[in-house]
Each structure stands twice: as C-alpha cells, then as structure tokens.
Symmetry: C2
Subunit: 208 residues, 2 copies
C-alpha cells in the first residue's frame, strides 16, 4: 500500500508517518520509484504497537523505540527476551550508586522468587522500599515478601496467558501486557480498597 | 521553631518554604513579630508528606495539595474519606463523555466487589479496558473479574494494615500507601513475571 493508505489504515497523519520514517521508528517501505514506496501489514502492526505504547503506556517515542527494538531483536530464550523488554520499560530505575539492593533481594529470597540481582526491577523495588522507609511506612523485607506471596497467583496467571507460539509474539504480548495491564491492575487495586473499606469500616452515609 | 530550624529539620531550603507558604501548601506559622513566625511539629509532618507525594509519588504540587487537603478535611466516615483521597490521586481519569463504563461495572459485578459507579477508579478501569481492546488484547469483563479475584487477598491485606486510630491517620496512611506502595507493587509484578517465566520457559543460557 502507499503512504496515504497506510495513514488511513493506521489513523496516523502522513506528516507524522514521515517523521517516524526519518527517526527510524518505522522501517522504510520498498521503493517503487524515486518518490514512492510500498508499505505492508508489518508497518500497520508496528504502528499499532507504537501508538499503544505512547498513547496508552505514556512512553516517550525514544522509550517506545527501545521496547520495539527489544521486541524485534529477541534474545536466545523467551525468559531472556522478556527480561530485555521489561527492563526497557519505564520507570527508569535509580542510577544511584549508593542504592542498597539488599533489602529488596532479601524480600525476594523470603518470597522464594528466582531473580537476577542486576535486573532493573530489583533496583525499582529497592528504590520504592527506600522511599517508603523515608516516609516512615513499613518497608521491611518480611512485609514486602508477604505482599509478593499474595501477588504470586496473579502474576503466574498473567504469564500463563503468554501465547505459546513465536518468540516475537510472546515478547510483544509481554511488553504490551506489562504497559497496558498496569493501568488495569492499579485501577483494580483502588477499587479493591473501596470494597475492602466498606467491608471493614461500613458504608458511607447516604447522600454523602 | 523559626523558619531556619524548620528548614534544617525538614531538609527543605528556606526559599522553597517561603514559596510553599505563599502558595498555601504549608499553613502559616504563629506570628511572633512583624517579620517572624513560629512553626510546630505539624509543619514538619506536613512537609514530610508533601515531599513523599511529590518526590516519590511524582505528583505535581497542585495534585499533592489536593491530596493533603483531602487528608486534612476528612468526611463523615473512613470509607468516604478514603474515597476522596483516592479519587484525588493521579492519574486523572478520562473525562470523555462517550466512555462506556458498562464493561468495567460488569467486571466488578462478576468479581462481587462493592463500588460506586461515579468513582474515579471506575473511569480509570474503563479507560484501561478500552485501551487494551484497541490494542487487540483481551479486555473482557470475565478476564478482568478473574484478575480482580486474584488481586483481592492482596488489597484486603493492605486495608487490614490501615491503623485503627484517628480518621486523619487512616486517611494519611491510605493516601500515602496508595501512592508509595504502587511502585512496590509494580516492581513486584515485573519480578514475579521473571520468576514465572523461568518456571514456565526455563532459565536463560549462562552468560547471556
């Protein structure tokens, strides 16, 4: 298809498509003349991922590109490719050289989870635990391990839903799932708090 | 204490404190002369919350002020006050008048959760489900209800941890907990995905 058709199919204006082509966010089409190129379903698919990551996931174009590159150059195993994609996603972990990872690693050990000490998510957890502690809230490895145990059935169900087929599909699903299911999880957590509050503290007064 | 001592105790520069006073983010101290005022422990406490919300929670000063105001003017019940605080927190839900809430409400009904149709978190859930659907991922009420059931033990444990004492303490804990435990939960989810990936797909190759 020509660029005008790609624009109609994807809902992305032609000027924006040209910007993506210049920035390397979208691979060039097959040149059919000096000024025209032909685009395929792969372009439509990549644009769909790009818009989902930026508009829903709130990623910058640079961050979306890192994720798309991870997805399209998978590693030697699904586990490794998933790790690359996950580590590329925001938030960027603290680069603070003084960050003490040991409370986070201790929590994961108590929970019995397999992990890698150099994973970005370990740094994210250590940063989040340090922030809780600074605010005077409980951030002990024991409490975090207990929360991990309570979260385990949910995350295992999410990974069980990863398709069994091609590696690129699994990684695409995992990267999109991490970004796009996060808002679902956070909204559900708040709604669960409302439900649990009513159960513990009773209904609000009518009309309030 | 004088403003210099408040600055030392809180780690916030005097110029920033003066900005907070002008903007109403920090209540004025008790005037002791035409140019001097006396500050108390309440000021130290409020500054601690303010820094936690902005630096850790990533809230703008305006959003932090909304949360602090909700915390310091509680409603008639803990449930209601928690709802006010939660609804004030980011992300702002979509104001799209065409947003269809029914898939989100159906998911909550299937999960058996008590909720309010006009809650900001219902709009957040509906927005997140619409985004999943747009990206071609499963966003059925049945799937979301199943995730809600798997998340329920965790959120009930979080609400059980809310202190039993004063209303303001409960709301402060809930508002801070919502913002500050979110990064813990998201980091744990990713680490749980790593663990579940290893269990399902095996360890990555050594050295990779």
């Amino acid at each position: 298809m020509r660029i005008g058709e790609l624009s109609r199919r994807s809902g992305v204006p032609v000027a924006t498509l040209k910007h993506y082509l210049r920035e390397g966010l979208l691979p060039r089409g097959r040149a059919t003349s000096r000024t025209q190129a032909e685009y395929g379903e792969g372009h439509v698919h990549r644009l769909r991922l790009l818009r989902a990551l930026t508009e829903v996931g709130g990623l910058s174009l640079a961050a979306a590109r890192t994720v798309l590159d991870a997805v399209s150059t998978p590693g030697t195993s699904v586990t490794q490719a998933l790790g690359v994609a996950t580590d590329a996603l925001p938030p960027r972990p603290s680069q603070d050289a003084d960050l003490d990872l040991s409370p986070a690693l201790r929590a994961l050990e108590l929970a019995g989870w397999v992990t890698w000490p150099d994973s970005a998510a370990v740094r994210q957890l250590a940063t989040a635990m340090r922030a809780l502690e600074a605010a005077g809230l409980d951030a002990s490895p024991e409490l975090v391990a207990e929360r991990a145990r309570l979260l385990a059935p949910l995350v295992r169900e999410e990974v069980a839903a990863v398709p069994d087929g091609a590696l690129a599909d699994a990684v695409t699903f995992a990267a999109l799932g991490t970004v796009l299911y996060e808002p679902v999880l956070l909204a559900l957590r708040r709604l669960g708090h409302q439900d649990a509050s009513v159960r513990r503290f009773g209904m609000p007064e009518p009309g309030s």
